[in-house]
């Protein structure tokens, strides 16, 4: 019952770039899993439709192949012995995060360039018996040197960064805290917090929200010396539900006082993830709300999309009307799937209504809207419309019942979590707020609009001592 190994495929040619050794299996074992993946890919209509857990019938013991795609790379993780597939996905995710930590953007060329490091990382993170070993980036950096110009130059001159047991050998695993390096020194002690919040909503044709949720994430970039013990207070912790924490956070402390007390790892990490639930804002309130009351408490969607779509023989006509509400929106993209067999689309957008493209590979119409400014135009002129027709090889085309809308909100629009830097000697100010927000939604005949909004961040610079 374990992870059998890890195979990283290049999606350009579906050939493995790096794979573990699969020592206790036949040589055909990894190939069978790659074949199973390719067969499933050939069968699926859309790449997203492949079941992430593929059954691989092997004569002696059936196994499964868990897979995940990241940009141009596909991670295959064969498992056997009735292991929980979540274990495999958690491992792939962890390994991917380590790769990102080491190489920045993880693509096929970067992995080829650094294959020896990838191999060492695989060896250190996954034991031959199929259990994850060292997965904390801080501890790994002591064992496997990240690629840097220095190490390259050193290796040219014949001096290795890991030249002997005297230097790194001693520092590896010498830290009493598994997730933090020992003996760190920084000239400027600073720590950055980025709060990223994502709105994800489904809206019906009468613009009523069917479901919406705001998911948040606090990313930290820590550059502090020594072993700092931090305390972070949230101003409205009661609106935060379903939290999850980095393993450095003292869970018992959070259970008692809803504060985050932790010794941070060095570098970038995700401190916590949470869901913003305004209906839980009153701790003592009755948990059961009526549907109407609950919907009022939900986060509102900053625009409406009306659509009318009529299907005729071998095609159809449609009209989309997008009306933003008060707030400013950026990067609004509306996508409408026109059904299998759709061949072309002709549209005209209202003046200043952005541009459209038809993506034949996905049978999808994409409409990109110009940024809307806050209160810049009167509400009457604010509407953007897109009218058009499409043709299809199918006699009765079946377009999607919903359009997908993504958008970006200005900084601070959601703000479920507010940090309170209240612990000793901390001061902070909000500056350099960067914010991206995506919203997806919309829909055939305007029945449902669904959206996802993502992200705003406050970057706070704080210093200790």
């Amino acid at each position: 019952m374990a992870i059998d190994g890890l195979i990283i495929l290049d999606s350009a040619n579906f050939r493995p770039i790096v794979q573990t050794s699969f020592r206790s299996f036949s040589t055909a074992y990894p190939l069978l899993h790659i074949d199973a993946y390719n067969a499933a890919l050939a069968k699926a209509e859309r790449p997203e439709d492949i079941d992430p857990v593929l059954f691989v019938p092997l004569p002696d013991a059936p196994t499964a192949c868990c897979h995940l795609q990241h940009l141009s790379l596909i991670f295959l993780c064969p498992i056997s012995g009735n292991l929980d597939p979540l274990y495999a996905f958690a491992f792939i995710r962890t390994f991917l995060d380590i790769l990102i930590e080491y190489f920045g953007d993880v693509t096929a060329p970067t992995l080829r360039d650094n294959f020896d490091i990838v191999h060492q990382l695989l060896e250190e993170t996954l034991d031959a018996g199929g259990h994850p070993l060292t997965t904390s980036p801080n501890a790994l950096r002591d064992i496997v040197l990240p690629p840097s110009l220095i190490t390259k130059i050193l290796s040219v001159t014949g001096v290795s960064g890991l030249s002997g047991p005297t230097t790194t050998g001693l520092s590896a695993f010498s830290s009493p805290i598994p997730w933090r390096k020992a003996g760190l020194r920084y000239n400027n002690n600073e720590i950055y917090f980025d709060i990223i919040e994502t709105l994800d909503a489904v809206v019906n044709k009468s613009a009523a929200i069917i479901t919406s949720s705001v998911l948040g994430k606090i990313n930290v970039n820590c550059k502090l010396s020594g072993t700092p013990d931090l305390l972070l207070t949230l101003t409205n912790p009661h609106t935060i539900t379903e939290p999850s924490f980095h393993s450095c956070v003292r869970l018992s402390r959070f259970a008692q006082s809803k504060t985050l007390s932790f010794i941070p790892p060095d570098g970038r990490f995700t401190l916590m993830e949470y869901r913003f639930d305004p209906s839980a804002s009153k701790p003592g309130a009755a948990p059961a709300l009526t549907a109407a009351a609950a919907s009022q408490l939900q986060v509102q969607v900053p625009f409406t999309l009306r659509s009318a779509l009529f299907v005729t023989d071998h095609g159809g006509t449609f009209e989309l009307t997008f009306s933003p509400r008060a707030s400013a929106l950026d990067d609004v993209v509306i996508e409408l799937y026109l059904g299998a067999g759709a061949s072309s689309a002709t549209c005209s957008a209202s003046t200043g209504g952005g541009g459209w493209t038809y993506l034949p590979a996905q049978n999808t119409l994409r409409w990109s809207l110009p940024p809307t400014t806050r209160g810049g135009r009167s509400t009457a002129n604010n509407n953007n419309t897109l009218q058009g027709t499409f043709t299809s090889s199918e006699a009765r085309p079946r377009p999607a019942r919903a359009a997908q809308i993504s958008f970006a909100l200005p900084p601070g629009a959601l703000l479920a979590a507010r940090l309170d830097a209240s612990s000793g000697g901390w001061s902070g100010k909000a500056g350099d707020a960067t914010f991206v927000c995506f919203l997806r939604g919309g829909q055939r005949l305007g029945t449902m609009e669904r959206m996802e909004a993502r992200d705003f961040g406050i970057t706070t610079s704080l210093s200790t001592e």
Binding site: S21, N82, R112, D113, F173, V202, T211, S247
Partner: protein, 780 residues
């Protein structure tokens, strides 16, 4: 003057600049060669020639280059075992980077070249004593990874050495080596178990997870070894790393099911402080393990704890969502009330993957209650427009489900149906149930008939096989449409098997209703003749069967070609009963009665049976005696340990019995004095326990006395004490109270306790360690 000076100065500068540039280009040529790994990755055959020479050269740089090329060739799937001899020579390289690559190489090819691999073993053994924990751990990992059976005993010695290492990282490596050594040579089991029980006493949370892995791999049935460690393992759980938490929880869940009494309202085996915070882990696998613990160990009243953590996992990634939905689906079959208030979290999105859409629709169907039926009906109606056939089918099933669950909404649901494949199937069962319930819903009972009429009218447009078959069936139930039979007979040859079945049946039904109608007899004969020569033998059988059935009603049917084979001939009324009031069609929703405990298994996710089911044993009504779990912190010489090395040969110490239906052996204690180190006998508070029967009696007598006092003591003793544990220690204390020297014992205990909290000096343990080891027979 100054001009000349300036000139010479610039000249010098240019010369210097050129010089620097030259060196730089020279260097960067080297640099680009070295730094771009792609150069190695695409090593051609010509370069491969130099690998051997480079490996034998004196320069670390050349060695490193050669090793990188080898590793690159391994990644590309080439067999590079021919270089084994040269690589082995570098195993003692002072350059750590070279050495690590050599390790990676050796692990892969050692099995193929056992003789040469043996050459490197001395180096690894020497490395086991290195000052760096990294090197020690790496040496052990490589040593145990060399799958050469002859060195098994050497590996055992190495593991044993590392199990006593000062660095928890090395101890972790030692634990992980145990399963490898076991698979190499099974006869080493006794000594491996001994090492394992040493490791079980490890106080560092870092290595505990790996020990649990080793335990599951080497001696999964020896749960009795865990008795003295169980409570401490529960306490450290929260400090273990995330992967270790998964393995440890798995082991603890199994232990609890095997050894603890079934939980009751007053006695729950899950700790608030130990397991519950783990729900806030960021690792989905941990969440699922805790969910397993709560769902399979706790009382149903505490099952609600699993809801929010699982809901949170849905948002992590599409892959995790897919797996978690499968688990929630399985939970919703049995206890849908847990998740149904959160049905909005399962709303199907237009861009979900096929599998996710299907599972969500299924989950929503399980959630249908009177309260949410209106909202869900609207959702399901929306889904019937989806691009995905599977979701449309699921949505239609859902509408039917609502109609059946809440009869008053039937009319609404009927309106919702359009002529879609599954709608017809659902309609069939609705019409059937309506006709059976008779006048129960007089108002709406005309609706099905008109719909059936409409369907019959549209028969040419309905293409999906199942739907077409159903329409033909429906027409038979509402017997007025010979025209449908005519249409079907015309296209009989091209119909699918289910439609053919229903066509033959319809012909038979119509013939029974009006046996003397000429047209019908001709039509019937035609259909039966077609069925008789059909390519599908089931259709042929069905036709023949119905033909025989009709023999007594319509004698002309088949008279020409079917010879009388005797037997009972049914009368018309009888045939009518057979054809019209036959069994109700099977419910489309098979009742899900898979009650096996499969949460968190691959089999459940894939929806198929897989071998190695991790099925939990059922609870023991009584559980094993809690004294077995008395903390070893108080009583250092753990009894089980003394017995482990010898447990196989010496059966006289304990009586082994299988418990219930599963194979985990349980130690049943015999009173001390039977000779040998019995568990009770080696405990310090032996006096109280000498007479076990007396002990049991006292336990049951003084159940409720002094509980307050005990609790106070408990709080002082340990912050993160488990509820269940408290109770058990209570019992134990009570037992001591019954005996004369009980007071002293507990004093001694608390003193020892303080020592434990303060730090290492535990002389009593060390003393007894010495004693024990002197008693132990050497393994080798």
């Amino acid at each position: 003057m100054s001009g000349i000076n300036f000139n010479s100065w610039t000249e010098n500068a240019t010369r210097l600049g050129m010089r620097i540039q030259e060196t730089l280009t020279e260097r960067t040529k080297d640099l680009s060669l070295m730094s771009s790994g792609a150069g190695y990755y695409d090593t051609g055959e010509d370069k491969a020639k130099y690998i051997k020479a480079h490996l034998e050269s004196g320069s670390d740089r050349e060695k490193l280059e050669a090793m990188k090329r080898l590793i690159a060739m391994i990644s590309k799937g080439r067999n590079v075992s021919e270089y084994f001899a040269q690589v082995v020579k570098n195993v003692a390289s002072p350059n750590l980077e070279v050495r690590k690559l050599v390790y990676i190489y050796l692990l892969r090819y050692a099995e193929a070249e056992p003789d040469l691999a043996l050459l490197s073993i001395n180096t690894f053994q020497r490395d086991l004593a290195d000052s760096s924990p990294l090197i020690r751990a790496m040496a052990l990992r490589v040593l145990s990874g060399i799958r050469v059976p002859t060195i098994a005993s050497l590996v055992v010695v190495a593991i044993k050495k590392c199990a006593a290492d000062t660095s928890p990282y090395v101890r972790k490596a030692a634990a992980l080596s145990i399963p490898k050594c076991h698979s190499l040579d099974e006869s080493q089991l006794p000594s491996l178990i001994e090492i394992l029980s040493t490791l079980l006493r490890d106080r560092s949370p870092l290595s505990v997870g790996s020990v649990a892995i080793a335990f599951e791999a080497v001696c999964p049935t020896r749960l009795d070894l865990l008795h003295p460690h169980y409570r401490r393992l529960c306490r450290v759980l929260i400090d273990v790393d995330e992967w270790g938490q998964v393995s440890l929880l798995e082991l603890l869940i199994r232990y609890a099911r095997t050894m603890l009494p079934r939980p009751t309202a007053s006695r729950d085996s899950l700790g608030k402080e130990t397991e519950e915070p783990l729900f806030q882990s960021r690792n989905p696998a941990v969440i699922l393990s805790v969910t397993r613990a709560f769902y399979y160990l706790a009382l149903p009243s505490r099952h609600h704890k699993i809801v929010h953590p699982l809901l949170r996992l849905l948002a992590i990634s599409p892959e995790v969502e897919r797996v978690v939905l499968a688990y929630i689906l399985s939970i919703s079959h049995i206890s849908s009330h847990l998740f149904s208030p959160h049905y909005t979290r399962f709303i199907v999105r237009a861009d979900d993957s096929t599998r996710v859409k299907h599972t969500k629709a299924h989950i929503l169907r399980n959630f249908i209650t009177a309260d949410n039926s209106q909202a869900l009906l609207r959702e399901f109606v929306d889904y019937t427009d989806d691009v995905d056939e599977a979701l449309v089918a699921g949505a239609i099933l859902g509408i039917g489900h609502i109609a059946r669950t809440l009869p008053e909404s039937t009319a609404q649901c009927l309106n919702a149906y359009s002529v879609v494949a599954n709608a017809v199937v659902e309609l069939k069962s609705l019409v059937q149930s309506q006709m059976q319930s008779g006048a129960a819903h007089v108002g709406s009972s005309s609706a099905p008939l008109t719909i059936v009429e409409r369907l019959a009218y549209h028969i040419d447009e309905i293409r999906q096989a199942q739907a077409r078959a159903c329409v033909v069936w429906l027409v038979g139930v509402v017997p007025w449409a010979p025209d449908v039979l005519r249409k079907i007979a015309k296209s009989f040859r091209n119909e699918t098997v289910p439609v053919k079945f229903q066509a033959v049946t319809l012909a038979a039904k119509l013939l029974v209703l009006s046996p003397s109608h000429d047209m019908l007899i001709q039509l019937g004969n035609y259909v039966f003749a077609l069925a008789r020569y059909d390519r599908n033998y089931d259709v042929r059988d069905r036709g023949r069967m119905l033909q025989q059935l009709l023999a007594g009603v319509v004698p002309t049917i088949g008279a020409a070609d079917v010879k009388d084979i005797g037997g009972v001939v049914l009368r018309r009324a009888q045939v009518r009963v057979v054809l019209f009031e036959g069994k109700e069609s099977a419910q489309p929703h098979a009742v899900h009665n898979d009650t096996r405990e499969r949460l968190g298994t691959l089999g459940l996710v894939l929806g198929r049976d897989t071998p190695h089911e991790r099925i939990l044993p059922d609870w023991l009504e009584q559980g094993v005696e809690s004294i077995l779990r008395d903390s070893q912190d108080d009583a250092p010489p753990t009894p089980a340990v003394t017995a482990i090395g010898h447990i196989a040969p010496r059966s006289g110490v304990g009586t082994w019995t299988g418990t219930g239906g599963h194979s985990s052996p349980v130690v049943v204690l015999s009173p001390a004095g039977s000779g040998g180190p019995s568990p009770a006998g080696s405990m310090p508070n032996k006096g109280a326990w000498t007479d076990l029967e007396k002990f049991y009696a006292s336990e049951s007598e003084s159940e409720d006395e002094d509980s307050e006092e005990e609790e106070e003591e408990e709080e002082e003793e340990e912050e993160e004490e488990e509820e269940e544990e408290e109770e058990e220690e209570e019992e134990e204390e009570e037992a001591r109270e019954g005996s004369d020297d009980g007071e002293e014992e507990s004093d001694h205990q608390s003193g020892d306790d303080e020592g434990r909290r303060v730090g290492p000096p535990r002389t009593s343990e060390e003393d007894s360690d010495v004693k024990r080891s002197s008693k132990r027979v050497p393994i080798q």
